[in-house]
Symmetry: C2
Subunit: 598 residues, 2 copies
């Protein structure tokens, strides 16, 4: 289906918005009136600009507080409408959104509303314009889509139809089943927005917290499917009011928006892009370091051995069990120190994974490849992290590990019991948090957990994990309390062990400091969980944090931070599925204290 977006969904001037919308690949736009009023472009210039960019103007909006008013007011409202028809003719827009009235003078009279809307449609028709009447969830007398439709039906004019808006319908808990009762050709327009499920005033909810489909809690796909079944053939059009998108760069928001529609079409059964090749685990994590020595020290202490060097690039391979770390010494920001630059995921079908990524608008990262290097596709995640689709050491395909040649045996360290990468935590730029989780869901087929607030010493951090059903790949997405620190985003790699106490002891014995955790924490652990005193003492000695859920236990501890990177050791028992969020405040405070102490 054609894809459109309201200009209000993005930040910037109207010119900036239109460029971003066209560049992302949308077919059309809704021109939000304030964007026209506030800008220097005349309606004719906007029309030309859209034509140049290949964008149709699918809707002009909103026209408010029109219908069911006392007599003298009607004439003034019709005059007001005529002025807007003039603007629309100049714009070349032929569909006007009319929202159900919120005006105090509006009368609760469907017949009167229908009569007025019919008059409006007659006037509109003379200009070649049609009217799409929509129920605002907070409309004074008309607040549900079926009520708006009854009025449209009553008016019975060919230039009058209805506009369905997923936010207005789903925020009120209306059942979209009734959409089947509306003839498809009378659904003039379909506006789409999702929102997190929140118990709050619906107007505030709508104005600040709307998000793109798939980023909230509504079944937008079900609503779209219902509209299509009813015969709707117009565009899928996003209309999102969101405090974060209002600030974020228009270009990236537009891509995020279009990706949400592609996933929505797929969920609603309206398209069939290449299915995701859900990864089975992490193939590697790549760290960059202009000065690699501190990281080599930590990796060695963690029990990793340097098992290979890349044949054509300054990259080292460090391995322990199935955990692999690439150390790229030819890149990296000298000022900020080591950083996590890339993730490799293990997939049975790298080609399909790459096709899926491309279909989901993931930008392909241009690779410099030496002759003989294994083909390795990468795309960039919203935060710039590169994502590689790998097959490691399978007989039927060349393995990326073949690009590494072995180093002398004595460089392999004594392993410390680490078996694999448990999860990777990526701090997202403030404006990319919702985009990131949708990206990983769309591109890798991961599933998203609930969003959490973690209490940091200097603010609340939102956190949301995306993972495969079997936990083979887990990525924790975190975001700082506010924009501004985007350059120094911390990332960490959590390494799984089956015996965290033995692993932590070995790591410490080799001189890598583990983050000290306050004694007070262990007093509280005792109060809450009545742990065995010996185990409690050992946890305290090693700075191991503890959590428990209904199906298992979680033990975890942390190394010091090097540049923007640190490591976590984790042990899961039973079916524990979380990440120790309970302990985040204590860990974050300990990291702050440690940084100040160093």
């Amino acid at each position: 289906m054609r894809k459109s977006i309201a200009t209000v969904s993005l930040s910037g001037s109207l010119s900036e918005k239109l460029t971003a919308i066209a560049t992302a690949g949308f077919d059309g736009v809704e021109i939000f009136e304030n964007d026209l009023l506030a800008g220097p472009l005349s309606p004719e210039e906007i029309r030309l600009r859209c034509a140049d960019l290949g964008l149709s103007i699918d809707l002009y909006q909103p026209f408010r507080d029109f219908e069911a008013v006392p007599g003298d007011r009607l004439a003034r409202n019709l005059r007001r409408a005529e002025r807007k028809f003039d603007v629309m003719e100049r714009l070349g827009a032929d569909l006007l959104l009319v929202c159900s009235s919120v005006a105090p003078e509006a009368v609760d009279d469907d017949v009167l509303a229908a009569e007025h809307l019919r008059l409006l449609a007659e006037r509109a028709e003379r200009h070649g314009i049609r009217i799409a009447y929509e129920a605002l969830a907070w409309g004074r007398h008309v607040s549900t889509y079926d009520h708006a439709w009854r009025i449209v039906e009553l008016a019975g004019h060919p230039a009058l139809g209805t506009c369905l808006d997923s936010f207005h319908i789903l925020s009120r808990g209306s059942d979209p089943k009734g959409i089947a009762d509306i003839p498809g050709e009378k659904i003039f327009f379909l506006q789409l927005a999702d929102a997190p499920l929140m118990a709050m005033d619906v107007l505030q909810w709508s104005r600040h917290y709307r998000c793109f489909p798939g980023q909230g809690g509504f079944d937008v796909a079900g609503l779209v499917a219902a509209a299509v079944r009813a015969g709707y053939t117009g565009p899928l059009s996003l209309e999102v009011f969101n405090d974060v998108f209002r600030q974020a760069g228009a270009a990236s928001t537009a891509v995020d928006a279009l990706r949400s529609l592609l996933l929505l079409e797929e969920s609603a059964g309206l398209s069939a892009p290449p299915a995701p090749a859900v990864p089975s685990g992490f193939a590697f994590a790549e760290l960059t370091a202009a000065d690699p020595e501190p990281l080599r020290g930590v990796l060695g202490a963690l029990g990793f051995g340097r098992t290979g060097r890349h044949t054509s690039k300054p990259v080292e391979l460090w391995e322990q069990g199935e955990a692999r770390i690439l150390l790229n010494t030819g890149a990296g920001d000298r000022r900020q120190g080591p950083a996590l630059a890339a993730i490799g995921v293990e997939t049975s079908d790298p080609d399909r994974a790459a096709q899926r990524a491309e279909a989901m608008l993931a930008p392909v990262v241009p690779r410099r490849r030496a002759r003989g290097d294994a083909p390795l596709d990468a795309v960039a995640a919203p935060d710039g992290t590169e994502l590689f689709f790998c097959r490691t050491d399978r007989s039927d395909l060349p393995s990326w590990t073949g690009d590494f040649t072995g180093v002398p045996q004595h460089e392999a360290a004594e392993p410390a019991g680490i078996g694999r990468i448990d999860h990777i935590a990526l701090t997202q730029p403030w404006h990319q948090f919702d985009e990131a989780s949708l990206f990983y869901r769309g591109v890798l087929g991961l599933e998203a957990d609930d969003s959490l607030d973690l209490a940091d010493t200097y603010g609340l951090r939102r956190s949301r994990a995306v993972a495969t059903a079997d936990g083979g790949v887990r990525i924790a997405l975190n975001v700082a309390p506010a924009p501004g620190d985007d350059d120094a985003r911390l990332q960490h790699i959590a390494l799984a062990t089956d015996d965290i106490i033995a692993t932590a002891r070995r790591v410490r014995a080799r001189g890598a400091g583990l983050l000290p955790i306050p004694v007070n924490y262990y007093d509280d652990l005792d109060a809450r969980y009545e742990l065995d005193p010996h185990i409690l003492a050992t946890l305290a000695e090693l700075g191991i944090l503890y959590d428990r859920d209904e199906s298992g236990e979680f033990f975890h501890c942390y190394t010091a931070t090097v540049g923007r990177v640190f490591f976590e050791l984790v042990q899961r028992t039973g079916g524990y599925r979380g990440y120790g969020a309970q302990n985040a405040a204590v860990r974050l405070a300990a990291q702050h204290a440690h940084q100040h102490a160093v």
Copy 2:
């Protein structure tokens, strides 16, 4: 009354919080458990630190999910409590907050709850500890203060009392009148928080949006008065969970917090600080400019004449009607250009104004005064703007204008019809917005309007005006969408004229550009208001914006921005009280467009 604050209300480590709390002048603290758990200080060290700082530990909190549980759980909960009594003994804290249970296993049985709380109180008493039982607004079975009190009464133990929390009581709309039924000595503690009136889930509201008394919409003073009438003699203690305060500097938040309690005491009739000397108008606005030429040009074009030079400082006085601008050429940030540094307000009693400011914790600005200069007191507002209390040209006191000597007559320009300063708009640092409005209300006795969201091209800006009842002093406080741009905060001076068209024409004729406003805006104005076509054309020609309310009209236009400063020309007719917020989006977009064009 003694004044206290919960450590959770501030950002930072426990050490940082305690220092900020003591420095601001609080008498005591509530130790929030997570602050203790996450920090390296032992309970004994915290006790010592508080003693050194002169802070009593008034409460340890919270203890959760204790009462009305099945038998096996009770023993475990009592064990958990004993561990906390141990911590409290080490801390030297003798009052524990117990929140009504939210646990799924809790039973709806007041007799059982009372029995369990009595057992807890018996245990506590052996440690010299008392229990304050509080109803959480979202408690599973106990969610109102009168219900919590009935259970406490039923338990009938001297070491068990109740804690009243203004948020939990007022967010549920409970009537505080029933507090009169609780014997004062059984109100063991009083926690205070305000909140903006919002229709949202009470738990989310509480965790993110609490604010200090006077910053929200609750009648906290009425509740305090009721508790005091009932015989409560303990501390007034703030407990605020707020996303902004969690990030803001602890030192300034602590001052803001204590100021809110001082105002609260006054409102509740519990104290009588010097009354505010409500100002009658602006005496002057002071601009700083390392390079004063651009500002001199704008002031000249606006019709200001340079009427004086300070006898001992590089400061020029520019006047037109009752509008006075000081141009300080000896200060200012060369990189950011001109800025607004100070405001003088006209007051009948500068001494009392200064005493009031000091009583409300406004930091006094040290002045360098030459012999013979008029005494002029200044304090610093939260954003650093200096605030002077002036009497201009009255016979009974020396006027600050006497410090300026006249300059040759020919430097006086042709006036352009400006009569006075209408208002001053100050962009606040992101974390100081609520503090600022409380500051101006407390120090100057201004009244606050509602908080508004203005749609800027690159995000939403909150805005709130504070003003005297007669509009003699109006200050519009704005805040950018997010922290980060605090250094480049724009400020502006709005100048009143009785004939904005004539004034704008003269200003333009003298070569000062006025901000161009898009033609589309005027098409919409026509659609909305049906203005006289000639007037409309003139407004469009001059870039004058228009607004209307039930009692009058508002015309306004803008100069270009110089450094961090611009000027607005305004004309009010009838009783229009606003600031043209309706037009803010158009104005802000025009300013962005103009800046990019320049």
